[in-house]
Amino acid sequence: MAPAVFHILIALADQPLHGYGIMLDIAERSGGKVKLSPGTLYGSIKQMLEDGLIEEVAVRSAADDERRRYYRLTREGREAARQEMARMSALLNHARLTSLRSNEG
């Protein structure tokens, strides 16, 4: 799974967001280190829509610009995110059992 896709899945895990919102969310969680470019962001969104990981939502707040579309996770998306999470944490656990954990190495 591409890092950008996982980032987007995480951003959408708890609330539907529009594209800009996703970008802001990712930037916030990473302490401003990860800022997706427009091409990466929307290219990934398009691909994820086609793969059925996310879907558009009809609900949007009145204050928002009507041109913005909101996305949320589908069941498949949530499942894919979980699997990725499990894979990464397993990987992390493996890493923690090595000398990488201690600072001396």
Partner: protein, 876 residues
């Protein structure tokens, strides 16, 4: 301010994404760009450029992939349709590619010599009369070689000479092709010898007085060196016997080297230019290589100023001007007309194929209106649909192109056989990158042509109107008109090609009807070469008379004789002839006065063998031996020209002089024979070989007339020749009709191809018309049903459908006739005895087209008349 401008630039750069992607996300991406712009433009631009470099192409690729996948799925759903389109396109693309490959190899590709663009051919002609152009004289050639500064090198080829020679290796004779050339020949063609040093200027001094034979040295072709000398490099310096005379081998030509004018040659020998000083003996083919940086125009200017100087030197010479033309253009000139015509014709076939496919796609697109409307309603942009359709076209065209390449490779091998002797350089035809590129270009172009019609028709209509179109007849009427128009285009193109084929057919028929003045059926011809070493003039004279007598003893043989050059195969020995008696005594019959004056040396019963009628006096016989008074027989045309107003009986006994022989007494007048297969008249003086054998070792074409098929006496002929001398070989045995057939090969080639193209076009156009009418009948089932219910008879209905056909047919006939007039321009060089726009041909072609179109219309008409009203109305 800077942010605003950046945003504007960004919005413009978004155009690099596919349209759908931009429609979908463009605005949001711009918003995001604006939001991000606040925390550092530089970093943002850096990221965005990466986007444009990587993401934009990826989006294009993924959109394309989807379209192709979709197209393939569509085709799987309807394999019959896919196959019909693929085959139709393959015929068009394959045919076009095949003809283009010939066109490119013959007319466009450089000759197979280094810097071939610098090669030119030189001609001599009368000042201000370029049409009189002919070979160069040795005298002119010598001056040009010394004085013209435009050329790096010039060379003369004595290719008018009898070029065959007998090479005996280990007692086994073989007939080989020789060519006499001046010393700079290989240098002019920039073809360095593989071995040996070749010829020198000194080799051009002739050994024998009065002949053009230079030093007895030869350069071998690499083919002969391989086949007869075992590729032994040490042959250089050794001696071979040609026609019984010793020749020193001074070199081996490079691999694959051929003479540009005469083609494959086995040995080259020096031409004895030294004594060829006659300024009026135009006999040399001259080629030159321009110096680097000198243009053809500059060279021609220099030649024309040199011509002026030579006119002062030889004031009596009429053909005083010298001109140069690009060698390639000169060599391929006879093929240019036919090939231009065929490329245009095959282009028309491709166009008809495109129209056919467009028509098929239109019909299918109608069936897919629902699909398009639904997809559009679901948000697929118009651009998307148009591109989708174009990609489908491209996929179909690519399949057609691939199959077309297969067809083209087959067609090329057929063309090679058909075009033998008709088109020069045919051996060089190959599927090189240029041809493949052309095929790819044609394929893409084809897809755009046939794909744009349905794309424009359906891609840009709003969904609602598309759905409405389906339910109402107005839309389908409009489409019917479009398809009917396309059918008219096809019919017009078919008529154009049919007319062209008709003109060629009529021309070819007339060519066959030309009265040659002699009989060609049941005649076998062959050559026998007598080695000079063993046969002196007396023995040669005796041999030929005896050979004719022996051949006559073969069962089935009627008459036999020999002639120095067969009639109707072109001009040969056009020597001037002096008139020594009669009203025009003291004057000459010369080629320069526009007479096709020809000299022939004959043996045996030549006139009987060719069945040339005797008009007055007698033909040659035993009385005309070497020691008898010099005699000649002349043709009726010659008698009329040299002795005007005299009866033929009175011409017998008159005196003329020609060919350096003593004054000749005319002993007979015979019927006229033509100069070439086009029926060009000629004036002929015949010399008895027995009296002329001393002049040179004549290669006489032996002519044997039989009551049986010529091939059946061939074995006996071999026996007879071997009986008189076992070392002699029967060479070039061919039935006379085949010899003459070579003269019409060009016409036959163009005729066969154009007729094929016309046939394919007619077939496609007929299928197209049939499709249009079937569609119309299907669309109007209900209407027709109601009419039948209201009392219309079957005849009425059939007539109504035929009337539908009459619109495209009528339009096609008018446009096609105009097209035929345009095509006529390219037909003139091939038309013989008929105008390319002969109305009879146009009418005949129109009749064929109409008849075929009626057949195509009859089937749907019959189907319409059989519609069951109740069922048709219920369906609606």
């Amino acid at each position: 301010m800077r942010v605003k401008r950046s945003e504007r630039i960004y919005r413009r750069l978004l155009r690099l994404y596919p349209g759908e992607f931009r429609d979908e996300y463009g605005q949001e991406m711009t918003l995001l760009f604006r939001a991000r712009a606040t925390d550092g433009l530089l970093r943002l631009w850096f990221q965005v450029l990466g986007d444009l470099l990587f993401h934009a192409p990826r989006e294009h690729w993924s959109a394309m992939k989807q379209d192709v996948r979709y197209a393939v799925r569509q085709m799987r759903r309807d394999p019959g349709f896919g196959a019909a389109v693929t085959v139709t396109l393959a015929v068009g693309i394959g045919g076009t590619t095949a003809v283009f490959s010939v066109f490119q190899a013959v007319l466009l590709a450089p000759l197979p010599y280094e810097e071939a663009g610098q090669l030119v051919r030189l001609y001599q002609h009368e000042a201000d009369k370029p049409a009189t152009r002919t070979y160069l004289t040795g005298a002119y050639f010598s001056v040009l070689r010394e004085e013209a500064t435009s050329f790096e090198a010039v060379a003369a080829l004595a290719n008018y000479r009898e070029t065959a020679a007998d090479l005996v290796i280990d007692g086994r004779p073989q007939r080989i092709r020789g060519l006499r050339v001046t010393s700079d020949y290989f240098h002019t063609l920039r073809s360095g010898l593989s071995f040996g040093s070749g010829f020198e200027r000194g080799d051009e001094m002739d050994v024998r007085r009065g002949s053009s034979v230079g030093s007895r040295r030869v350069v071998l072709s690499s083919t002969l060196w391989r086949s007869s000398f075992g590729q032994d490099p040490s042959v250089v310096g050794s001696t071979i016997r040609l026609n019984g005379e010793p020749y020193e081998i001074v070199g081996v030509a490079p691999d694959g080297f051929e003479d540009p004018v005469v083609g494959p040659v086995d040995v080259w020998a020096p031409y004895g230019l030294g004594r060829d000083t006659d300024p009026e003996n135009n006999s040399l083919t001259v080629i030159g290589r321009l110096k680097k940086g000198v243009s053809l125009e500059q060279a021609r200017e220099e030649l024309s100023s040199l011509s002026r100087a030579m006119r002062e030197r030889w004031p009596a010479v009429r053909l005083s001007a010298v001109d140069a033309v690009a060698l390639r253009d000169d060599l391929v000139a006879p093929a240019r007309g036919p090939l231009n015509l065929l490329l245009i014709a095959v282009g028309l076939v491709l166009l008809v194929a495109c129209v056919n496919v467009a028509n098929l796609l239109l019909a299918r697109a109608t069936g897919r209106i629902d699909e398009f409307a639904v997809r559009q309603a679901l948000g697929a942009g118009q651009r998307r649909l148009v591109r989708q359709m174009l990609v489908e076209s491209l996929v179909l065209a690519s399949l057609g192109g691939l199959l077309g390449l297969v067809l083209a490779s087959i067609a090329v091998s057929v063309l090679r056989v058909l075009g033998e002797d008709a088109v020069p350089r045919l051996k060089e035809v190959a599927f090189d990158p240029v041809v493949l590129g052309f095929a790819a270009l044609v394929t893409v172009g084809t897809a755009l042509v046939f794909g744009s019609v349905p794309a424009l028709r359906f891609g840009y209509s709003a969904p609602v109107s598309a759905l409405r179109q389906r339910s109402r007849t107005t839309g389908s009427r409009a489409q019917g008109r479009l398809r009917s128009g396309l059918a008219a285009v096809q019919l017009a193109l078919a008529l154009t090609l049919l007319t062209g084929a008709g003109v060629l057919l009529a021309s070819f028929y007339r060519l066959q009807q030309v009265d040659l003045g002699f009989q060609v059926d049941d005649v076998l011809t062959f050559e026998v070469n007598l080695p000079s070493a063993r046969y002196d003039a007396a023995r040669r004279a005796a041999f030929h008379e005896e050979l004719a007598r022996h051949l006559r003893t073969i069962p089935g043989v009627v008459a036999a004789g020999g002639i120095s050059f067969l009639p109707a195969t072109g001009s040969y020995h056009g020597w001037n002839t002096s008139i020594l008696s009669g009203p025009k005594a003291g004057t000459q019959v010369t080629k320069q006065d526009g007479f096709n004056i020809q000299q022939r040396t004959v043996s045996g019963d030549l006139f009987a063998a060719l069945r040339i009628p005797l008009i007055a006096g007698r033909t040659f016989d035993a009385r005309d031996h070497a020691d008898a008074p010099a005699r000649a027989v002349v043709s009726a045309n010659f008698a009329r020209t040299a002795f005007p107003a005299m009866p033929f009986n009175a011409v017998v006994g008159q005196r003329i002089a020609a060919g350096g022989r003593p004054p000749l007494e005319i002993v007979g007048v015979v019927g006229d024979v033509v100069l070439d297969v086009y029926g060009t008249p000629s004036l002929v003086v015949y010399h008895p070989h027995a009296q002329f054998a001393r002049d040179r070792n004549w290669t006489l074409a032996q002519v044997v007339t039989t009551r049986l098929a010529p091939e059946r006496v061939l074995a006996e002929v071999g026996t007879v020749v071997a009986a008189s001398d076992p070392e002699l070989a029967v060479y070039r045995a061919v039935a006379l009709p085949d010899v003459l057939g070579r003269g019409t090969k060009r016409e036959r080639f163009a005729l066969v191809l154009l007729a094929t193209f016309a046939g394919v076009c007619l077939l496609l156009a007929t299928v197209g018309l049939y499709g249009v009418l079937s569609y119309a009948v299907r669309q109007r089932r209900q209407e027709i049903g109601i009419r039948i219910a209201l009392g219309a008879t079957g005849a009425h209905v059939r007539l109504a459908v035929l009337r539908l056909a009459s619109i495209p047919l009528g339009a096609g006939l008018v446009a096609g006739a105009l097209g035929a007039l345009l095509l006529g321009r390219w037909l003139t060089s091939l038309a013989f005895g008929i105008s390319p726009s002969d109305p009879r041909i146009v009418v005949a072609a129109a009749a064929i087209l109409t008849a075929t179109a009626l057949v195509a219309a009859w089937l749907p008409a019959r189907r319409a008349a059989r519609i069951e009203p109740r069922i048709a109305i219920q369906e609606g």
